[in-house]
């Protein structure tokens, strides 16, 4: 919301520097920024460069002959590169000042040539930061040469403040409201706005209009007045400037006057063209479903029963508090105006505005509640201005239907409680003074709150008033905030952070991706249903993610396009699944291995499934995951899929990105991906670690080389070897694997190193030989293996 300081000064005498005013408002809870400031120069005029010539002693200076409307042109030396013939410029004469008077223009000699002034840049005038050459005034007229530059540029000498108002302070959506806050801070009194209201006794309001209120619950008070025989025309300059200074568009004298009063008192009012109100009757009622109204933005709007309407005998003339109808709008031919000033229920107005998705300056104010007490004053003031500007006659009398009396609120206040709540030590005198300055009235033990402070209802609201007026920064700072509770760090937080440390040490970069997805990626990695957003702003962000992988793959594609050919990414994040309309959330870990290292003289790393598998084992072993095992299972999501288990518990999968998904995600290099459930990893963690003593006796290694059919898996072989061996066999590692034509069709050679060790004694050859031949015998018969 924009506030004009000149306007504020119509209410209070205040001469504090702008920055203090802005700070005061911020400290009271009205976050304030100065958006345009006073002019920082004096006596700078519009000039025109009639001609110019190069300076004899300089290669960049020019001597300009500047016409400022006098008989004689000024000769001014200027170094700007955009100097040109016949351009209009800002000309500082001898005696002009810049930078708030700190810089005074004097006659000067520049490299032996006299200069009688200066041509200014926008920065020198402090109207922008532009210092590229001098300011050139477009569309200026020869006839106003010599006029103050602020007029030629239409600069205002007003300070405009931008206030970011919180929704509880509807009372400050006006200049009066902001002035009240400043009066409170600077200890000033508010001046009442004077106006005269001369009614034409021969015109009586009851002869012109009748009002029936059929919705008193939603419209507790409705009032109106009339001005007849007026002229709709352009607003006078003062009103145009005022309206425009706070960013509003000037329309005509009637609409501008209503706008002015709304921004002045904060009470929205509506003006109808009286002659377009049929039957001269006004009815306030709630709408029926699917009624229609064409609002003055010429939109047809279909109504619902919650909405509040202003109607005449047979049509709807306004969506109450939101917008009037197109039909009853003020036009240039309007002669008689009906001025409405009402108090509407905030919730009702918000409902109405939400239903048709139309928020206006008016609805914004009604939603935040208005001042029921100031209604008649505001109505009279607007009537007076409209009559004056439109040269019309004020109809005698006012219609004021106050169906439901609104009581003033009385709120308890206990100073002791307040002090302990805020940690302050305020006296009765201090708190009384604050409340009186806020225009609260003391009523025995309670305080009576003025109508415009609709936000104050409870005792705690008074504590807030005390705090903000006393000043948050004046409230002491306690050092006893730390009490003794033991921090119970959630386990999943710990595991997440450990994982991050391990993964980043392994060269993975952590990624955070957008967790809202397009429908097209939901079935790429699992079949989990997921929740759908019903008011999405983009189709690409309509579903909650059921997998972290689409986000990671997009990131890979992004990086590949930018020349990265080898990288590993991971994300730890929330995924969703919808089970019988119930949204289940869990945290996952997803990893991708992408591409291969190129162009290194001594190493050549490649993302392949074994690299990924090994890395996963190493990561999981950090968490002492019980018996990690892999199963090669068919999957509809990838031709190459390995499921990962801890004992029988499914943790997740490793897959190779298939051709079609590579195309879909725009990835060219080899990509392995894995997604694991953090919940399951957490459950499979072995917390009770018992140490076993490392053997102090040497181990014996025996290598076996077997020829088996290619379909026999190494994992089956190893598992079988352990199954038939006793505990002296401590390791069995595949150290070579070979497939070649010379071996024969469908055959492969596997070499396994077997390590034997005892915890009790040094093994001798005999101990191992027996065991080895047993293993070989059994393998030969079980797998039809041939020893090589």
């Amino acid at each position: 919301m924009k506030i004009s300081l000149a306007w504020i000064k119509e209410y209070i005498d205040i001469d504090a520097p702008t920055i203090e005013i802005s700070d005061a408002l911020t400290s009271l809870g009205l976050e304030c920024n100065i958006i345009s400031n006073k002019l920082t120069f004096t006596d700078i005029v519009l000039g025109k460069i009639d001609s110019y010539s190069a300076h004899p002693n300089s290669d960049h200076l020019n001597i300009c002959s500047v016409n400022i409307g006098n008989e004689e042109n000024l000769s001014i030396v200027c170094g700007a590169s955009n100097v040109d013939k016949n351009i209009f410029v800002a000309c500082a004469k001898i005696g002009s000042t810049l930078d708030n008077g700190k810089f005074k223009i004097k006659k000067a000699k520049l490299r032996d040539v006299e200069s009688f002034g200066m041509l200014c840049s926008e920065k020198e005038l402090n109207i922008s930061n532009n210092h590229e050459g001098i300011l050139i005034v477009n569309n200026a007229k020869e006839s106003i040469l010599g006029a103050p530059i602020e007029d030629a540029l239409d600069l205002s000498n007003d300070v405009i403040l931008e206030i970011d108002l919180t929704p509880n302070r509807g009372d400050c959506l006006s200049h009066l409201g902001v002035a009240r806050e400043l009066a409170l801070f600077f200890n000033k009194t508010i001046k009442k706005r004077d106006f005269s209201l001369i009614e034409n006794k021969s015109l009586k309001i009851n002869d012109f209009i009748k009002v029936t209120n059929n919705a008193p619950d939603y419209c507790p008070r409705y009032s109106c007045r009339m001005v007849k025989n007026l002229k709709v025309k352009e607003s006078p300059l003062w009103l145009q400037k005022k309206i425009e200074s706070i960013g509003q568009k000037s329309i005509n004298n009637i609409v501008d006057a209503a706008n002015f009063i709304m921004h002045d008192y904060g009470h929205p009012m509506h003006t109808f063209d009286y002659n377009k109100i049929n039957s001269k009757e006004i009815e306030i009622r709630t709408a029926k479903d699917s009624e229609e109204i064409v609002t003055l933005d010429s939109q047809k709007r279909i109504l619902k029963h919650e909405q509040l309407l202003i109607c005449d005998g047979d049509k709807n003339i306004a969506l109450a508090g939101v917008m009037g109808s197109y039909d009853s709008e003020i036009t240039n031919s309007t002669k008689d105006v009906l001025i409405e000033c009402a108090y509407f229920d905030p919730i009702k107005i918000r409902q109405g505005s939400k239903k048709v998705d139309l928020s206006t300056e008016s609805s914004k104010r009604f939603e935040r509640d208005t001042d029921i007490e100031n209604m008649i004053n505001a109505l009279n003031n607007l009537t007076s201005i409209i009559a004056e500007l439109g040269e019309g006659e004020i109809v005698t009398g006012i219609i004021d239907i106050y169906s439901k009396i609104k009581e003033k609120k009385l709120v308890d206040f206990n100073l002791e409680h307040c002090n302990s709540f805020l940690g302050t030590n305020l006296s009765q005198e201090q708190s009384n003074k604050i409340f009186l300055n806020l225009n609260f009235k003391k009523m025995k033990n309670k305080w009576e709150i003025p109508y415009y402070r609709n936000d104050i209802i409870r005792e705690v609201d008074l504590y807030e008033e005390i705090a903000r007026v006393f000043g948050y920064d004046n409230i002491p700072t306690s050092n006893s905030f730390s009490s003794s509770f033991s921090a119970i760090v959630e386990d999943d937080q710990k595991i997440k952070n450990n994982l991050r440390t391990i993964l980043s040490a392994k060269g993975f970069n952590e990624h955070y991706s957008n967790s809202l997805y397009n429908i097209s990626v939901l079935e790429d990695f699992n079949s989990n249903k997921t929740s759908e957003i019903i008011n999405e702003s983009s189709k690409d962000m309509k579903y909650l993610r059921n997998s972290l992988l689409p986000g990671l793959l997009n990131a890979i594609s992004f990086n590949e396009k930018r020349g990265q050919n080898f990288l590993k990414l991971f994300e730890i994040g929330r995924v969703h699944s919808l089970i019988k309309n119930y949204n289940k959330e869990q945290d996952n870990l997803a990893m991708v291995w992408f591409g291969e290292q190129k162009d290194h003289w001594n190493s050549n790393l490649k993302s392949d499934i074994f690299y990924a598998k090994g890395e996963i084992v190493s990561i999981l072993k950090n968490f002492k995951i019980d018996s990690i095992n892999f199963k090669v299972n068919d999957s509809k999501f990838s031709e190459l899929n390995i499921d990962i288990f801890s004992k029988k518990k499914y943790l997740g999968f490793i897959r190779l990105l298939d051709y079609n998904l590579k195309k879909k995600y725009n990835v060219n290099g080899t990509l392995i991906y894995s997604e694991l459930s953090l919940t399951e990893i957490n459950k499979s963690k072995n917390i009770d670690v018992y140490y076993s003593k490392p053997s102090s006796f040497p181990s014996i290694r025996r290598d076996i080389s077997l020829l088996v059919e290619t379909k026999i898996s190494s994992q089956d072989l190893i598992n079988y070897i352990f199954k038939i061996s006793d505990k002296l066999l401590i390791e069995a590692n595949v150290f070579d694997m070979y497939i070649g034509k010379e071996l024969g069709e469908n055959l492969k050679s596997i070499a396994i190193a077997l390590i034997f060790q005892s915890a009790e004694k040094t093994l001798v050859d005999k101990d191992v030989d027996n065991r080895l031949s047993l293993i070989l015998d059994k393998i030969k018969s079980k797998f039809r293996a041939i020893q090589r």
């Binding site: 400290s27 809870g29 920024n33 100065i34 919180t166 929704p167 302070r169 905030p346 709540f421 805020l422 940690g423 409870r458 705690v460 807030e464 705090a467 948050y472 920064d473 700072t477 905030f481 730390s482 009490s483 509770f485 921090a487 119970i488 760090v489 959630e490 937080q493 440390t501 993964l503 980043s504 392994k506 060269g507 993975f508 970069n509 952590e510 990624h511 955070y512 991706s513 957008n514 809202l516 929740s531 957003i533 999405e536 702003s537 962000m541 909650l544 990131a555 992004f558 990086n559 930018r562 990265q564 080898f566 990288l567 969703h576 949204n583 959330e585 290194h600 003289w601 001594n602 790393l605």
Partner: protein
């Protein structure tokens, strides 16, 4: 040949062999084996010692020992010399880069979240993380934001097809925690929240927050100020200047925003502080009695709550001017953290 002759000849042979070889590191080893090895020449001299008469034995033994020492000394020298020389000869270019390892990194959001969390953990706050999918009650109503309240405009909400919504703030977790625990309560709740906003340089459809909540019998606004000043000093440095100013959140009364003094040294300082030098860091306040009512707590309880936006802090801390960089996954960006 007498034993003494043998000793003499072995020494002579050794000397000539040692001087004739060129690659000394290799020959030193060979010579060692030949002369001093387990089956070497010196060892055979010792075995011959048994054959001579007892009177001669000590003298001969001494001779053999001194030969052995002589050989050892010579070989040692030869060896040292050769080591020095072999490095000088080396054609290995040690300036070649080492093997390439990927540079991993932890996301700036994680880092900021962890740094902030650990400050609060150290003074007794527990961590509680809630769900992202909430309903109207937890996200709004229990937090004193009834339907058709203008405060709902402060947060554009994503609604889901099953009468649920995506939480717009981590404050929703407060309610869950209070429903299931009895005071005193001292928690922080980090997590992802969503706002139905267009993606731009300054806003994204989601971001991260850390919510804090303290509920006990005697809690004051001064305590809240003290806590947050402590946090600011720990996070931004001992010299940080903070200010509190009134604000409005439906679930706290009084409500405040805390700013830190950022300064006005550069053009960008002007931009990010809107020319005031002050920068908004977090929102906070005393828990509104309506919130306690919603979770059926005794009205005599008091508490404070605060919420910190992680992205905002991360952007300030690292000078990031485009929020989208945080979610793009550009490794050239990620590897800087």
């Amino acid at each position: 040949m007498t034993l003494y002759d043998k000793i003499k000849s072995i020494q002579d042979n050794f000397n000539s062999e040692l001087s004739s070889v060129t690659d000394k590191s290799l020959s030193a080893e060979l010579l060692y084996n030949k002369y001093l090895g387990r089956k070497g020449l010196v060892s055979s001299l010792y075995s011959e010692l048994g054959k001579i008469n007892n009177l001669e034995k000590p003298k001969a033994g001494e001779k053999i020992n001194s030969l052995k020492n002589f050989l050892e000394e010579k070989l040692k020298k030869a060896n040292i010399k050769s080591e020095k020389k072999s490095n000088k000869d080396s054609s290995i270019d040690l300036t070649l880069p080492g093997n390439h390892f990927l540079e991993g990194s932890i996301h700036p959001i994680t880092q900021v979240m962890n740094d902030i969390s650990s400050i609060f953990k150290n003074i007794g706050f527990s961590i509680f993380s809630g769900d992202e999918v909430e309903d109207e009650f937890y996200n709004f109503e229990a937090l004193n934001i009834p339907k058709y309240h203008p405060a709902r405009d402060m947060q554009d909400t994503y609604y889901l097809n099953n009468d649920k919504l995506l939480r717009t703030h981590t404050s929703a977790s407060q309610i869950h925690f209070m429903e299931n625990n009895t005071p005193p309560i001292k928690i922080i709740s980090p997590g992802r929240v969503y706002r139905n906003e267009d993606i731009s340089v300054r806003s994204y459809c989601l971001f991260h927050q850390i919510e804090g909540l303290y509920v006990d019998k005697n809690v004051s606004f001064a305590d809240l100020k003290g806590l947050l000043e402590y946090f600011s000093k720990k996070y931004f440095g001992e010299d940080v200047k903070v200010r509190f100013r009134p604000s409005y959140f439906p679930f706290t009364e009084p409500s405040a925003e805390m700013d830190i003094y950022w300064g006005l040294e550069s053009e960008s300082d002007y931009r990010i502080t809107k020319g005031t030098g002050w920068l908004e860091i977090l929102g906070c306040g005393m828990v509104d009695p309506e919130v306690f009512k919603a979770v059926e707590y005794d009205s005599s309880l008091k508490g404070y709550a605060f919420g910190i936006g992680i992205e905002r802090i991360a952007m300030l801390k690292y000078g990031i001017t485009d929020i989208r960089l945080l979610y793009e996954g550009d490794v050239r960006f990620l590897r800087q953290f």
